[in-house]
Amino acid sequence: MAIGEGAAGSIVPQSVQKRVKRISLIVVALLVAVFVTVPVYVMVAIALQSPTAVFAGGDVNLLIKEFTLRNFRVLFDDTNTVRYFTNSLIVTASSTLLSTSLAVAAGYGLTRFEFTGKTIAARAVLFAYMFSPIVLAIPLYVIFFSLDLLNSYFALTMALTAISAPFTIWLMWQYFQTVPISLEESAWVRGASRTRTLWDVVLPVARPGYISAAIFSFAVAWNDFTMARVVMSQDEMYTITVGASLFLDRVSIGWGETMAVSLLICIPPFIIAVFLQNYLLQGFNVGGLE
């Protein structure tokens, strides 16, 4: 690391000043690291130990003495966790698929075809993104209710896609701006039909974009509480978010099980984080929005 290399405000003449600065930076970094990771660690520690071990006269969460899956067993035996988890997986997968496909199709069309009102379309998409989900949820509830669609996977999938689609469409719209049309033209001139070109050229080149879009819509759907809470009122249709949120109200469910279900909920996102890290960060860099 050289002085002044890509660093904000690091023009430092004296080495002493440099060292003080270096140390204070490390301290800040450590503090943040602690702040960020300790809560996560707490969750893991409590999930994997029996409640008696953790709570015996005070708090001993720092050291995991013995692993136990006891909490998980309680979850699976006494609650509908498995059912909730399955529901979440189903609506999340559906919503991700729908949102991403919509985004790719719309993003491509919006970029490639010329039409008046592009500015309005862009603003509409952005406006939808700035919306509060609860504001949309109310009328959706009434509409689903009158169509007798409440407590259905379909309704929740549509609601979730409604929330994630504005951003995924915006993402793909921006992304396709960076795919030069000459790539497609090159294929057309060589005899490939437009459809074939989409398959052979456009989609492969757009891959980083639609993977980011898929990750985002996955996160929105998996994480969602508002829409699921509004659309689902029957226990067996609850998603894991809604179902688990009711745990703490039940006397028989303690912190051990709560942290255990938290751990379960974290698994799919973490799998994504591990394998698709780069795509995640690319999603953050798109536009000034997230």
């Binding site: 057309w188 490939a192 492969p204």
Partner: protein, 376 residues
Amino acid sequence: MARPIHFDNVRKEFQAAGTVHVAVDDLTLTIPEGSFTTLVGPSGCGKTTTLRMIAGLETPTSGRLAFGDEDVTEQTPQERNCAMVFQSIALYPHMTVRENIGYGLKVQGVPKDERNRRIDDAGETLQITEQLEKMPAELSGGQQQRVALGSAFVQDPDVLLLDEPMSDLDAKLKAELRVEVQRLHQELDATVVYVTHDQTEAMTMSDQVILLNEGRLEQFAPPGELFDDPVSAYVAEFIGTPSTNLLPATVERREDALVLASDGFDVPAPESEFADRVGDAVTVGIRPQYLSPNGGTVEVVVTAEVVEQLGTEFVVHGYTPSGHAIDAVSTTFGSVQSGDELRVGFDPADAFVFDADGQTICHGDELTGETVSRAD
């Protein structure tokens, strides 16, 4: 098989925010089969649009386009047997070089073995055999352009189109690839249409040059003719480096002779052309290469401002007595300093005369004779 390209009153208009922009204005010409023709002109003159219409990527607003006897105006790009090399090179980033080159063949259903044979062949012709298994991102600019050329070559097209393929390359690469392109032209039995804004490329590579001016055909002729027989001041100024000097003059009658009276010098003018133009404003064009200390009978006084040395030649950028910019090129200007006053001369046979609209009245030998006929 090479075919001629016929443009018949081809017109292309674009709509942009309520106004209509005419990119190509009633273009009628025939590009001879098998020739190497360059479309040249400044940005916005319509050359790329014209090329894209040949490819089928744009459709003419009116007029017909034909390859030989076949009317292709309505044909999609997929149906025409054209190959195109794009300005942005346009290599598919997710395919290897081999797959890139072979893509067109794959689409056409050529079996794998034959495909590979032809790809290897193209690779050898363009000297990229070692790059065949790599990804485009691993190649240098020059290598990428060779891959693009290879992709076009392997299609064995009737018409080969190149859209400013050298504009992103450095001078050395340009020179190398110019040779490659010309070699390809010889090996392929195709009509080559090459678009560039660099008139040096146009002059050195082509059989014919099409110079466009804001969508209209200005001149269509072999390079030498554009240089020596320009039909307008536009052509004279665009072709040649440094640009032709254009100096204002007036047709005057002095005693018994007609002259074009300009900035401190007079050019004798023939009666046949100028008798009825007495009093008109005209422009005298003279190429810097034809201005030298022993240049000729018409003498011009130049005050030098900047002197550049290019190899063995010197370019003097200076001013005429009344402040008009003028350039002169010669091997003998080595000792000229800024501020020096030079006397250079030119031979009227080397001069062009343009009327007030920029059209050529006469030039060269015709300064004593007939009007020049425009290229078709």
